[in-house]
């Protein structure tokens, strides 16, 4: 017989797996130790009691109550409302506008000008209008407007991030 008693963890492991290895030291000890046998019996009783239903029952009309709370079209509401989609579009547009304003527009036009395409006609047809449009842009935004735009974009992004986080947490 082994010199030490079985630990709580060892007993729980045995009962969880419902298996005791053949000819193991544990088995030998269990055969001759009353203390461990009692402990195992106590755990067995605990296990069988834990399997019993605590008795909390939902009312019979529970299904109907849930169904009555569901309204048509409630399934999987859209991620963003139309108002938010408009805000996203405005935010994106403004962000692009600010980016274009901050970078040197003429240099972009020059880059486009330098693009080499195999056929001049294609180049004229596709790139020239873009280049001419950029040359023609004459943005004179004030610093205040720029700050306002930045704030608007940040607010829109914040709202969206918060909404996504909230949805994930509440699931």
């Amino acid at each position: 017989m082994a010199h030490r008693h079985l630990t709580d963890e060892e007993i729980q492991n045995i009962l969880d797996k419902n298996y005791l290895p053949e000819n193991s030291v544990l088995k030998e000890h269990l055969k001759g130790c009353k203390i461990c046998q009692n402990k195992v019996q106590e755990y067995q009783t605990l296990y069988s009691e834990l399997k019993k239903d605590p008795g909390f029952k939902l009312p019979r009309n529970f299904k109907r109550l849930v169904i009555s709370r569901l309204t048509t079209g409630e399934i999987n509401p859209p991620l963003f409302s139309p108002k938010e989609i408009v805000l996203i579009a405005i935010g994106t547009f403004l962000a692009m506008g600010v980016t274009l304003y901050l970078v040197d527009l003429k240099s972009i036009a020059e880059i486009i000008n330098r693009i080499t395409l195999p056929r001049t006609e294609i180049k004229n047809m596709l790139l020239s209008p873009i280049r001419n449009f950029i040359y023609s842009l004459n943005l004179k935004l004030t610093l205040l407007a720029f700050a306002g735009l930045t704030l608007s974009v940040t607010a829109v992004i914040d709202q969206l991030i918060l909404k996504l986080k909230h949805q994930k947490l509440s699931l």
Partner: protein, 218 residues
């Protein structure tokens, strides 16, 4: 010898039947979910019927305010319905529903400012002080037998331990499933479970006469 022969012939047959049953069950669940995703409310009723016990067990263990329990169960199923389109069959539907139920209970407890873990209880208060306002249904207060005594002791534990005990023993879920539901590592689930059972045994042993509980009521 006869046993062995019988086992050798019947075991593969039994396995095949079990596998077939499992396949059928998976296909049935998939069909049911597809129907609900298509807006079939009758199919959703079947889903409620199948999983209301699972949800009620989790809510029962997490929330002790009788008045709020049923409402919470309803809200959980409404959330299930609203989000079912996002279910990608990456886990079992029972795990997914249990996760929604568990998170809803956590949100409820946070709203009510009830601490989740015993070590996060401030001041001189214990977890029992918080659950004391809600716990102990009438049937449990009498403490007539081991079952009701056990329920009383479980009620004094922190909500995650109570949930793990229920999911493991009552719902017969694995460590992996429980860890997915509660969003904690498998090792943590195991240590919570072992600690909870050890504590339950010790509590019951120290509080009551050994013979009275363990040997007369069996």
């Amino acid at each position: 010898m006869l046993h062995k022969k019988y086992f050798a012939t019947s075991f593969p047959f039994t396995c095949r039947i079990l596998i077939e049953e499992m396949k059928k069950s998976i296909t049935d669940t998939r069909l049911l979910i597809k129907k609900i995703q298509g807006g079939d409310k009758k199919a959703f009723q079947s889903l409620i019927e199948e999983y209301q016990q699972l949800v009620s067990h989790i809510v029962f263990r997490m929330v002790y305010n009788k008045a709020d329990r049923e409402d919470l169960c309803q809200e959980i199923f409404i959330k299930v319905y609203q989000n079912l389109r996002g279910f990608r069959f990456e886990s079992k539907i029972s795990t997914w529903i249990a996760k929604i139920a568990y998170n809803s209970c956590i949100n409820y407890l946070q709203k009510k400012k009830i601490p989740l873990f015993a070590d996060r209880v401030g001041g001189d208060k214990t977890i029992e002080d918080f659950s004391g306002n809600y716990i102990l249904p009438d049937s449990l207060t009498e403490e007539k037998d081991i079952a009701s005594r056990l329920q009383t002791e479980i009620a004094k534990m922190d909500p995650p331990s109570r949930t793990i005990l229920t999911l493991y023993h009552l719902e017969e879920m694995s460590y992996i499933e429980i860890s997915q539901i509660m969003g904690i590592p498998q090792g943590t689930v195991k240590s919570y479970l072992f600690r909870a059972r050890k504590k339950l045994r010790e509590k019951l042993m120290s509080k009551y006469q050994k013979e009275e509980i363990w040997h007369t009521d069996i």
